[in-house]
Symmetry: C2
Subunit: 341 residues, 2 copies
DNA sequence: CTGAAAGCGCTAACAC
DNA sequence: GTGTTAGCGCTTTCAG
């Protein structure tokens, strides 16, 4: 019943059964040359009877293409991380998978590019999500000549335009302006430790904004790898200090939610005494009390555009002059709305 | 700079440069036979200098293994569906991907098994999630001799034990008992249209429970493919009817949330006049007003166990006598808590 | 319209 | 400890 001992059926078996040569079988399947109706029928019948399905490795070896696109998610805290990171990971992976399935292209999660003990995977191209500055995996792929498209740019590779990137400047500026409109006197930034576009661009934008407005910048590090408790330990003194800011922008949504909790515990009202915003939008920000204003990275559109770009690239599109730019969305919620509005 | 015209470097190039035969290079990489230190050094240096990386298709063709595991998610509404379906899809895909990455095995999303225009993928085994009754994709994979593990059983294949399944009976019974404890007089079930274990088992359990308690069963169909508006159109008459139930179990969380909304609009208090529970747990159930009691399918543990089972299977484990059983979790929330407790 | 045959890059006998 | 060689199953010239 279980055909575990049965040899796989090959093109040769089909040829034999249909009384033709293997090349005819091959052409019948690929349609790459005219075959008489009678022959073609015999071949398809034989194939169906035998349950033939072509060996993808043999085909790839021969043609040099696999029809499969790889996906590498760079942030090291994406796995085994906190709930915020898991949700973000799921959403990006899910979005890319959805888009690939819709287009009927194989998607493969690349396990570990540089571990020689891990078998490498046959891919025609690779999407690298959220690369670091001077990302080494990206560099290795380029060195190997793999066609790459990145989701967010490697900040050290501005010349690499096979990229879908986010326009952080506009959104973060809008957020800071919004906080000021709502009466924020001093805005602190709790930024992540990962050296990627997300952290770099948002921090740069914050610093530029501070300078433009003669606002004293206050940046604290809050690593994405911290546990919620550790994060709390960093946040508490900030809120206890006499020079406590009256608005904080926290990198990840779960730490933002913790901030709201801590504030409430200390008797600080949100948003009246402390406004809180986060640079990632997940259930933590949406269902915090009060709900927290957040920047949504728009993974679905990032994924769509990255897949589209990759397919164009594989189809022969020339190197584009500029990266594709996507706007993150700013979701304004009660945590930053002092006035009704 | 971009090596797009450069020929890929093969084992032959490395052999030539290191002044050894290609088999020696092969063995040096696989470690499958002793190589003198000097030779091995020369080989690795040559490989590094040339930037050699082995061709996975050639290797798979030769060895018959690819080191890649496939994933097929069966529910047709998993894609392009409503938010509940998207979140569920993301969570399952994310969980499987996370687990595979942790184990450093390649994971591939299989695009479309039966579309001949889609190139088939090299996989050593395949995980099929949420198969239908007498699932045809599952059947096709088995016919091809692909080692399969399913997440949830195909209800028409009780003999197939390479499965991680959910113990719905216990949890759904507990839910119904809970509703009765909270004073439910009549409980209706709004069940999905997909013919899979989730819908079958939960419905069976409901019917058995009704019979056991002399409770008039009331089952309505609410297809997972419905838009939220269409679902609302099905739900409204139910709540308007004079024989309106005072508790409903709704298959998906977003439709449960809609039910809560409709009830509130009609002046029904939840849970006092109407208790609501759902058989899927997502943000919709958690952040509905009031929060909705839900069964959590525990995708993370399903994924973990399925991957584990697949790796054991590929490592030669004998056919297990029984499926692995996981408990879904019952998350009791205010939507079904009339008394404080 | 069809067949013969080379060879994609690698592994694993089998020799020495 | 190392080399030679026969394929894995397929696509694709090149001949007819």
């Amino acid at each position: 019943m279980n055909g575990s001992t049965a040899r796989r059926v090959t093109i040769r078996d089909v040829a034999e059964r249909a009384q033709v040569s293997i090349s005819t079988v091959s052409h019948a399947f690929s349609g790459s040359r005219p075959i008489s109706q009678a022959t073609r029928d015999r071949i398809f019948r034989a194939a169906a009877e035998l349950g033939y399905d072509p060996n993808p490795s043999a085909r790839s070896l021969r043609t040099g293409r696999s029809g499969i696109i790889g996906l590498i998610l760079r942030p090291r805290f994406a796995l085994c991380g906190t709930p915020d990171r898991a949700e973000t990971f799921n959403r990006l992976v899910g979005s890319v998978a959805t888009e690939m399935l819709r287009r009927k292209v194989g998607l493969i999660h690349v396990p570990d590019l540089n571990d020689p003990s891990v078998s490498s995977v046959p891919m025609d191209g690779c999407i690298v999500a959220h690369p670091y500055g001077a990302d080494e995996v990206l560099a290795e792929l380029l060195r190997r000549g793999v066609p790459v498209v990145t989701i967010e740019e490697d900040p050290e590779r501005p010349e690499f335009t096979w990229t879908v990137r986010l326009d952080y400047t506009t959104v973060v500026t809008a957020l800071l302006d919004h906080l000021r409109d709502q009466g924020a006197g001093s805005v602190a930034l709790l930024t992540g430790s990962e050296d990627n576009a997300w952290n770099r661009r948002t921090r740069e934008t914050y610093l530029a904004w501070c300078e433009r407005h003669g606002h004293a910048a206050r940046v604290e590090l809050l690593s994405e790898g911290l546990s919620v408790d550790d994060a709390a330990a960093t946040i508490r003194p900030l809120l206890a200090s006499p020079e406590r800011p009256d608005a904080v922008v926290v990198d990840t949504s779960d730490f933002a939610a913790i901030t709201a909790e801590i504030a409430t515990t200390r008797g600080l009202r949100v948003p009246e005494d402390l406004m809180i915003a986060s640079l990632t939008d997940t259930e933590h920000s949406r269902s915090a009390v009060p709900p927290i204003t957040a920047m949504d990275l728009n993974h679905e559109r990032l994924a769509e555009n990255a897949v589209e770009l990759m397919l164009s690239r594989l189809a022969g599109l020339e190197t584009p002059p500029e990266a594709v730019v996507i706007a993150p969305a700013l979701r304004v919620r009660p945590s930053t709305q002092r006035s009704a509005g």
